[in-house]
């Protein structure tokens, strides 16, 4: 119940919309000027990026200013993603939200409850400032589609920005020395981990994110997790079978999560220490699994290959959203910046600098990204290319106010089953009880 109470605070802050703000421009009709004003204009971009990535964003802003010299774009790092969400929620209540923000889908779902998000469709369709059909076709379809998951009409409330997925990192030196085969299925994970256990008694595999483990395996086993209406659907046989499968791997000490390893916050810590030899983690977090202690291999994540299997790899990362509380020119300037940010050259630049995926297909052959790909031995390149190679299996879980709580409960459920001594049925019942009345 504590989590729900903390959410209450967020919602309370969010729904207090009318009283404090000095401005309330957000409920106005969308009017798109034919030309952007040439008067000085300022827009703000809040995000959760660190110092290095802020430098890349500033480079993009500087290039944007070559085209639109009268637009001042102020970027502001707001800490972590949770800080960013909570500050924007608070700012919405005060009428001081930014013009643009980096967003996760469940954050957008919260902001939408405050009627604070600008629908992008009219801007995308605008003859002067919008996208051509070729532009739309150029976006990676699953990335673009993530902006439309908030209502049945498929209204666009975001465009993709920094996208990633999960890949499996493995100790290639160890695999080569011992003639082990990199597993592609969970059955093969069992086989290889058993071989490793026979060799040296160690747990072979660890899944870094317990929430992603639950959500991904539920998907791979053909089960449902949640839906866009906020319904909690994971209390099903397929999901339980998936968790049972991983629990059995853990019981046999063939696979685990970081919780198993005392003092480890991340699976990458025990991976680099050669306590384990395979780990599934974020494709954008390759640096954390990077080491000179051994050669690191990168492979697609294991898939379920039993009856009813659904190939699935989670799609992660953020989008960019424009807020409606702004003048027509600020809205247009924000749209033009987001359009610029997601252009072929700029997504190629940002991705080559950070190892996130470009959001447009054409960026993969852009000279900037081609230069990045020219070093195939780099773990960043391997991670990006292997990760993107799984795109036909990408899925996203539904976003709704409170969907982050479902993620939290997914983590708790895995911990309860693996380490808390709870039965599968009890752990599911507890999780459902936390989430559903």
């Amino acid at each position: 119940m504590k989590k729900l109470l903390s959410l209450l605070v967020v919602l309370v802050a969010m729904f207090v919309v009318a009283g404090c703000g000095n401005t309330n421009l957000k409920d106005r009709e969308i009017v798109i000027p034919d030309q952007l004003t040439t008067d000085p204009i300022t827009i703000t971009f809040w995000h959760a990026m660190g110092q290095a990535n802020q430098g890349y964003i500033q480079d993009i802003i500087d290039r944007f200013n070559v085209i639109y010299p009268n637009v001042t774009v102020i970027q502001a790092g707001q800490g972590g993603y949770t800080d960013l969400r909570d500050k924007i929620t608070k700012a919405i209540s005060a009428g001081t939200e930014p013009n643009i923000a980096q967003t996760y889908p469940d954050h957008v779902a919260v902001y939408l409850q405050g009627r604070a998000v600008l629908p992008l469709d009219k801007y995308m369709e605008n003859a002067t400032h919008g996208f051509t059909q070729a532009d739309l076709d150029d976006f990676v379809p699953s990335f673009l589609a993530e902006g439309t998951i908030y209502d049945e009409a498929g209204t666009y409330y975001s465009l993709p920005f920094n996208k990633s997925t999960e890949v499996m990192f493995y100790n290639k030196t160890f695999f080569d020395q011992n003639s082990l085969t990199v597993p592609t299925t969970w059955a093969e994970v069992r086989t290889v981990s058993q071989q490793i256990k026979t060799l040296n008694g160690k747990v072979g595999f660890a899944y870094d994110s317990e929430a992603n483990l639950f959500i991904t395996l539920t998907q791979q086993w053909g089960g449902q997790y949640t839906n866009v209406n906020g319904e909690i659907l994971f209390n099903n046989a397929q999901s339980k079978a998936a968790v049972t499968y991983f629990k059995d791997l853990y019981t046999d000490r063939l696979a685990a999560t970081p919780t198993h390893f005392d003092g480890a916050n991340y699976a990458s810590d025990v991976f680099k220490a050669e306590t384990i030899y395979m780990t599934v983690g974020s494709s954008a977090g390759a640096q954390h699994n990077n080491t000179t202690a051994f050669e690191v291999g990168v492979a697609p994540i294991p898939q379920y290959d039993g009856a009813g299997a659904v190939p699935a790899v989670i799609q992660q990362g953020t989008n960019v959203t424009i807020f409606s509380n702004a003048t027509d020119d600020q809205r247009l300037a924000s749209w033009l910046f987001v359009k610029f940010l997601t252009s072929t050259a700029e997504t190629a630049y940002f991705s080559a600098s950070t190892a996130y995926f470009p959001v447009r297909e054409s960026a993969y052959t852009h000279p900037t990204y081609a230069t990045f790909l020219a070093n195939p031995d780099s773990i960043f390149v391997k991670s990006a290319t292997i990760g993107y190679g799984q795109r036909d299996k990408f899925f996203t879980s539904a976003a709704f106010p409170g969907s982050s709580l479902a993620r939290d409960e997914s983590q708790s459920l895995i911990r309860a089953v693996l380490y808390g001594g709870k039965t599968i049925d009890q752990a599911y019942a507890d999780a459902i009880n936390e989430l559903v009345w």
Partner: protein, 414 residues
């Protein structure tokens, strides 16, 4: 099934409008920098309590690392590092960011002039941060919450404050402070070098006049003597007064040009890590594009020294040098997390020094064939061995130590 609870929560949220609708912020005409800091007080009783036992207690300052990290000790504890909760000031140690040094100076000034410092954990017990080396705490300096004050001084945004006991006031302060456009929110740091090019300087000049180059962009020339993890040591012996070395920190990125025997021109920033008193100078903020290969295949020869010469008081500028110690014996040690370990060696005169193997260094006994695990994970492997060792000199807690990079850098005599 629906999330019915949300309906209730939404209704409650609407009914609660009046509770949190408007933040009682001061107007422009009555701007007060420390508005929230001055109105936030420590509610928990810390009298007679201990930070480690009770999650709150009085401490004394040992040293300041940067704007959001310092070392303290309690009446009964050894010194321990503390990362301030809810904030993230710009870097000023392994990397230099605008306003990083100023934030560090501000924190140092407040803590060094404090009459009473109280650390408060978020819960009833202190917890470590994700690095596992620093305790997280709210830092009360003479009754003022320094974490909050640093936000109101525009040295940091809030980070990781969500869900914490001071989240509300921290967010309010952060939102209010950002609108003023001060320091990190829109001002140039007069103490930061925004130029791209570093000052060309020899390692001899840099190491013998360190104060002049600390926190500045430099370009140095040296030969790579050892690569440890992704980082490396370089040395230059062309000076008039002998050889000088320095550590080149590369973070998590493998720099293709850091190869033993390569003579390099390296651009970066010289900083002390973790600080001047307890650590060593290093070159940071570099990458392959800022490194020029001048020559390759240079022979790397360690300087034979004795343990008694590895004394930071009598030889303060030899960290980073590549040295060889002969006929020393391993006599004690300890193991750390993730396969890191340290062993101590002594010579015939009982002079001693520590040898460190970091967690990202795999020392492998190649005489042990696959599939056996040949990574050495404990200092006891070396216990009692009489050895020669070659290694660069590092600094840990103010003392020199050797940093072992490879099994081949040890010659066993027994």
């Amino acid at each position: 099934m629906k999330l019915k609870k949300f309906i209730l929560l939404l209704l409650l949220g609407i009914f609660s409008f009046s509770l949190t609708a408007c933040d009682n912020k001061p107007g422009e005409e009555e701007w007060e920098i420390h508005y929230y800091t001055n109105r936030t007080t420590l509610e928990r009783d810390y009298t007679g309590k201990d930070f480690f036992l009770h999650g709150i207690g009085e401490v004394t300052l040992v040293s300041v690392a940067d704007g959001d990290t310092a070392m303290f000790k309690t009446a009964t504890s050894q010194p321990f590092r503390v990362r301030f909760l809810g904030i993230d000031t710009p870097e000023s140690t392994y990397r230099i960011d605008p306003w990083g040094k100023a934030a560090s100076d501000y924190t140092a000034n407040r803590l060094n002039n404090a009459t009473k410092i109280v650390l408060e954990a978020e819960g009833n017990q202190p917890v470590l941060d994700s690095t596992g080396t620093r305790y997280l705490a709210w830092v009360w300096v003479d009754g003022k919450l320094l974490n909050l004050e640093l936000i109101e001084e525009s040295f940091t945004t809030s980070k990781g404050a969500s869900g914490s006991k001071y989240a509300e006031v921290i967010f309010n302060a952060d939102m209010r402070t950002q609108t003023k456009g001060k320091r990190i929110w829109g001002e140039q740091d007069p103490g930061f070098n925004y130029s791209i090019e570093g000052t060309q300087v020899t390692l001899e000049e840099l190491r013998t006049n360190e104060a002049e180059y600390a926190n500045k962009k430099v370009a140095v020339v040296g030969i790579v003597t050892r690569v440890l993890g992704f980082s490396a040591y370089v040395e230059d012996c062309s000076g008039e007064t002998g050889c000088y070395g320095i550590y080149v920190y590369a973070g998590f990125t493998q720099l293709q040009k850091l190869v033993v025997g390569f003579e390099l021109r390296i651009e970066g920033t010289m900083v002390y890590h973790p600080d001047q008193e307890t650590g060593a100078p290093q070159i940071t903020d570099t990458r392959d594009s800022k490194i020029t290969v001048l020559s390759t295949g240079n022979e790397v020869v360690p300087t034979v020294m004795t343990i008694s010469e590895l004394n930071r008081t009598t030889n303060p500028t030899i960290s980073g040098r590549f040295v060889k110690l002969e006929n020393v014996t391993v006599y004690s040690g300890y193991d750390s997390a993730n396969n890191a370990f340290t062993f101590r060696i002594r010579d015939s005169q009982n002079n001693t020094i520590e040898v460190r193997v970091a967690s990202d260094i795999a020392i492998r006994d190649l005489s042990i064939p696959a599939p056996q695990d040949n990574r050495i994970r404990t200092w006891e492997y070396f216990n009692g061995k009489n050895i020669d060792i070659v290694a660069p000199i590092g600094v840990y807690s103010g003392q020199y130590q050797l940093l072992l990079g490879s099994f081949n850098d040890i010659t066993f005599h027994n």
